[in-house]
């Protein structure tokens, strides 16, 4: 096999970046068409293409790494850098929303009554469901660490159990937040309080769903023996992402739910 003299992975040509770009175009234009002309066609097509792109692209990465052995140590190092940089970019994304929240809440305008929470806003009690949510996410941080150690120590049954438990806790959080959203005495349209609350916690909830999905894929792979006790970066990336989601929640809880109430 005449091949490279380096340990890096020169990826074969792939159509998924193109389909991903087309999906991005359909999603953006589709959103605009939906807003102005009430048609969901473009948006739906964009979503389907996005899901197909993600599924096939990541499936190809799993094939290249797990089944073909292209993920040598330098390649894995690059993937680690990539995940860290991505999570860092997400940190900055959330930083923006926290900036908006503190900008509005530290110097409340006369229109709000000069106070925070604004006049007329009935806030959620931080020591009820939000506190339970905090406990749920912290517990899920423990279970995902348990899963990691189980994988490193070669304990298949425990790895599957702890990973499943982590995902269930993630679903429980999403369910509880859904209930809170339904029962909340204020909406996103209720001034800057509603805007900052639902945009920040809403994006966080989306990230919980993304994180849970990532962990679920890891569970599927673990059941199918993809991970070895030394090499399981897909799982580590999911665990990092999950811890990030947990930390964002802690900041949300302290800033918006507790201090902001």
């Amino acid at each position: 096999m005449a091949h490279q003299a380096h340990a890096y992975h020169m990826v074969d040509p792939s159509p998924w970046p193109l389909t991903g770009a087309i999906a991005a175009l359909l999603l953006t234009s589709g959103t605009a068409v939906w807003f102005h002309f009430h048609s969901l066609t473009l948006l739906t097509m964009g979503n389907i293409l996005l899901l197909l792109t993600m599924y096939q692209w990541w499936r190809d990465i799993i094939r290249e790494g797990t089944f073909q052995g292209h993920h040598t140590p330098p390649v894995q190092k690059g993937l680690r850098y990539g995940m860290i940089l991505f999570i860092t970019s997400e940190v900055f994304f959330f930083l923006g929303f926290f900036w908006a929240f503190y900008h509005s809440s530290l110097a409340p305008t006369p229109e709000l009554g000069g106070c925070w929470p604004p006049t007329g806003i009935i806030t959620l009690d931080p020591f009820e469901v939000p506190l339970l949510n905090t406990a749920v996410l912290l517990a899920s941080g423990v279970t995902v660490t348990w899963a990691h150690h189980s994988i490193m120590e070669g304990e298949r049954k425990q790895a599957i159990q702890s990973l499943t438990l982590t995902i269930l806790l993630g679903f429980y959080f999403t369910f509880l937040q859904g209930m809170e959203y339904y029962e909340a005495p204020f909406t996103i349209a209720d001034g800057v309080y509603g805007s900052t609350f639902f945009v920040a916690t809403g994006f966080h909830g989306l990230h919980v769903i993304i994180g849970s999905t990532f962990l679920a894929v890891c569970l599927l792979r673990q059941v199918q023996y993809h991970f070895t006790s030394e090499h399981h970066f897909g799982f580590e990336a999911a665990a990092w992402y999950w811890h990030f989601v947990d930390v964002v929640w802690l900041f949300l809880y302290v800033s918006i739910y507790w201090w902001g109430s």
Partner: protein, 158 residues
């Protein structure tokens, strides 16, 4: 001062469990005598392998159910792993070895063909790198600092 029953510190809990789990299998299959021998040698292996670069073959699938790289690595990852176990670095992943650069101890430059580009950082922190082609045969000297470089043939694993 006596501090009562102190368990010896088990550093690598993983290897200890795996080797004893292996042993339980063997007790049933091969009989007590052979199993006792295996237990003794596996304990010796478990306590000595911390220093050795070659890992003992932990029967990942037989023990906890999660495979090890030894069992499951494939393709280039496996080639790199096997070479590293032998102390080799065929894909130049590590920093080049350090040599004196003198006539008696020239820098040895591995190459898969008859020539390779060399970049000499003559003194530490130099920002201007001296680039030149190093050819097969007699050692060449850096045009700037005079260090000796010699091309050595290098086979890629197949």
């Amino acid at each position: 001062m006596r501090s009562g029953n102190q368990l010896p510190k088990k550093k690598k809990k993983v290897k200890y469990y795996t080797s004893s789990a292996c042993c339980q299998l063997y007790f049933r299959l091969e009989g007590e005598m052979a199993a006792r021998l295996l237990l003794r040698s596996s304990i010796r292996a478990a306590t000595t392998c911390r220093a050795a670069p070659v890992p003992i073959l932990t029967r990942g699938m037989a023990a906890g159910g999660i495979p090890t790289d030894e069992e499951q690595a494939t393709g280039l990852e496996k080639i790199v792993m096997k070479a590293a176990q032998q102390g080799a670095d065929p894909y130049s992943m590590l920093k080049p070895k350090e040599y004196a650069g003198s006539k008696a101890d020239p820098h040895l430059v591995p190459s898969i063909t008859t020539k390779r580009i060399v970049g000499c950082v003559c003194e530490e922190d130099n920002t201007a790198v001296v680039w030149f082609w190093l050819h097969q045969g007699e050692a060449q000297r850096c045009p700037s600092c005079g260090s000796h470089y010699k091309l050595v043939p290098h086979e890629l694993p197949h």
